[in-house]
């Protein structure tokens, strides 16, 4: 059972992701960060997930939601922001950038930017957990579009026959760039694809942080008990276009979602709705709320300041980290 403190913490994290992501969109608009794949509107999924994770669990984030990693304890928003600003102080020294956000030390696995790649990779992490008997499981996020990649199939089949401790969570935000899932995915619910592997598939409201928490908790339990993967489909929506900030969809003239649809979904704002709920239940007060938002905004400001005032890497860094032990000219 989640305590009130837990719920407040989750709320705070949702606010953090919202504000951090909005800030990155702004930074991108200013040309300080490359084109952004913003996760605004999808915050309930990372936050519900993180709450369900144990310290030994790994989390493979998707390309959608650059700040997602920051929901996890131990992840430093400053270094995350520094990375997407291309600075030497970033998690990856500016080499990976916004398509490879990671905090490996905090068990946030490197984002992969070719759609679907992470599906077998995260099964491999789970395999290592199993072989090394470390306990723990791995959860892998990806989009509706990724469910049409070949490695989705290969990864799920392998994870199933080897009963790997891995959970697959598809953030079905209903579009892959402009392509509607209703067109591109041959079944109505992506969770139906679980039937092709003989594993449980569930569809949940991805904008309900508690529903996410519960589904992920159950799937992780199953995974850790050696029963193999679960496919969770979390229905959600991204408020921005595929790209936000510099090179945003609107800027490019890419129009593919009815305005009313966007408006409809903004009403399903996972942050505001959770806030309303907590308020109604008396768990959150106006005062606490103000406190949280102030704290978060300060945190985000500090992260930007840190990032912007950090040095760029030395040019010689271009050639290091290709190998562990040598630098080729």
């Amino acid at each position: 059972m989640l305590s009130n403190e837990d719920l407040i913490e989750m709320y705070e994290k949702m606010v953090l992701l919202r504000q951090a992501e909005e800030k990155l969109v702004e930074q991108s608009s200013k040309g300080k960060v490359w084109t952004l794949l913003a996760g605004v509107g999808q915050e309930a999924i990372p936050v519900g997930t993180v709450k369900a994770l144990g310290p030994e669990d790994y989390w493979e984030i998707s390309h959608r939601g650059t700040s997602d990693a920051a929901a996890r304890d131990g992840v430093d928003l400053k270094r995350l922001f520094a990375e997407v600003h291309g600075r030497a102080t970033g998690y990856s020294k500016g080499k990976g950038g916004n398509m490879h956000v990671e905090a490996f030390e905090a068990k946030v696995l490197p984002m992969l930017s070719i759609v679907g790649e992470s599906i077998p990779v995260s099964a491999g992490v789970a395999l290592a957990q199993k072989m090394k008997n470390t306990g723990g499981a791995t959860i892998c996020f990806f989009g509706d579009g990724a469910s049409n990649q070949g490695v989705f199939h290969e990864g799920l089949n392998l994870a199933t026959i080897w009963r790997l401790p891995v959970v697959y969570l598809v953030q079905n935000n209903q579009y892959a760039v402009s392509t509607p899932a209703s067109y591109a995915v041959s079944v109505k619910n992506i969770s139906e694809r679980a039937k092709g592997y003989g594993i449980p598939g569930v569809t949940i409201d991805g904008n309900d942080v508690l529903a996410v928490y519960e589904a992920v908790s159950e799937a992780l339990k199953r995974a850790k008990e050696g029963e193999g993967p679960t496919l969770i489909e979390a229905i959600t929506y991204r408020w921005y276009g595929h790209h936000a900030g510099a090179g945003a969809d609107e800027q490019m003239g890419w129009i593919y979602r009815p305005e009313e649809e966007v408006e409809e979904w903004k009403k399903k704002d996972p942050v505001a709705n959770f806030e309303k709920k907590l308020m109604a239940q008396g768990i959150l007060t106006e005062e606490k709320k103000t406190q949280i938002w102030d704290k978060v905004n300060k945190q985000v400001e500090e992260a930007v300041e840190f990032a912007e005032s950090s040095p760029f890497p030395d040019p010689s860094e271009a050639f290091t980290d290709v190998y562990t032990d040598l630098v080729l000219p």
Binding site: L112, N148, P315
Partner: protein, 322 residues
């Protein structure tokens, strides 16, 4: 004649060929958006039947293209970024490039692949690749790699009409390049290079965006009295070897430029040809200016270290003249 951008030239070529031949059609993701200009307006004109936007299933639709081509269709497959072709590598390398041979000539595979390299734009380690050398290496493909709007249009039209699989490689750094494009129909033949600038001291062989850089370097060096001949192979498979060798015969010196990883690349091939058939002309070491063997970094200060550019080309030219 009018001034057009490189992507507009691509767009015109696609439109004209789609109009000309009902067997031509396109597959690729988000094609209906006309994403970066190359496909602008095509969906509106030709509809879904011929501008087929796809799920994110590159191996799948690449295979479909091969299959459709066996029955006389002429698919043009678009990948967004060339880096997305790796998931379809087997369908290209092992199927499209070999079906004709494996059937002793019973079938042909007239597919065109649009492969844009995003290198040099901060796209980072996984989004920046240029696949031109990959398809020079593997048998069965023709590879065109234009540097100007004129060549882009003329070569793309030739590619679509060609009965073989043709990779149309281009650089995002060329996408906004402007140049003259005739109003009337024309083709640029596959397999013919072009001297983009005549010179006598040194030959620079440079394809794609590096050709533009080489021309800039040549301008710069001209001020120092160095006369650079800039050769644009335009097609890198089959290669117009004679053009390169005859330029080399004149200058005796060679720099090869390519915006692809240097090792086992087309740049190495040109140097190897010079070391063999061109040996008798060579007066100085042959230099390659290409990408370092490093995944392209995200941050600009690092990315520019590993990518070819005008200055690196100028430096190499100076070196071979020492």
């Amino acid at each position: 004649m009018s001034q057009k951008m490189f992507v507009q030239a691509i767009n015109e070529a696609l439109r004209e060929e789609l109009r000309r031949d009902p067997n031509v059609f396109m597959m690729g993701e988000n094609l209906e958006l006309g994403m970066f200009g190359a496909e602008a307006g095509l969906y509106e004109e030709f509809g879904f039947e011929r501008i087929r936007y796809t799920p994110i299933s590159e191996a799948g639709f690449t295979g479909l293209a091969t299959g459709a081509s066996l029955l006389g269709m002429r698919p043009v497959v678009e990948y967004g970024a060339a880096s997305f072709m790796y998931v379809a590598a087997d369908q290209m390398i092992s199927v499209a490039g070999r079906l004709r041979y494996a059937t002793g000539g019973d079938v042909c595979v007239p597919v065109t692949y649009l492969a844009m390299s995003m290198g040099g734009g901060g796209a980072g380690p996984q989004h920046s690749d240029n696949i031109c050398s990959l398809f020079v290496h593997y048998p069965g493909f023709k590879v065109v790699y234009p540097s100007t709007p004129y060549d882009a249009k003329g070569l793309l039209k030739s590619a679509i009409r060609d009965d073989n699989p043709v990779v149309f490689a281009y650089d995002i750094r060329s996408a906004m390049v402007k140049g003259e494009v005739p109003d009337e129909e024309y083709l640029v033949p596959i397999g013919k290079g072009d001297i983009k600038r005549e010179g006598k001291d040194v030959t620079v062989v440079a394809a794609g965006s590096t050709n533009t850089m080489a021309l800039e370097a040549a301008d710069e060096l001209a001020k120092e009295g160095i006369s650079v001949e800039v050769v644009d192979p335009r097609t890198i498979k089959p290669l117009d070897k004679e053009l390169i060798l005859s330029s080399l015969e004149k200058t005796g010196r060679l720099v090869v430029c390519l915006d692809d990883y240097r090792d086992s690349s087309f740049a190495s091939d040109v140097a190897a040809i010079a070391a063999d058939e061109g040996f008798k002309f060579l007066k100085a070491p042959v230099k390659r200016v290409a990408r370092a063997q490093v995944p392209p970094p995200y941050t600009t200060v690092l990315e520019r270290e590993v990518m070819p550019d005008k200055d690196k080309i100028a430096r190499a030219i100076r070196e071979v003249l020492q």
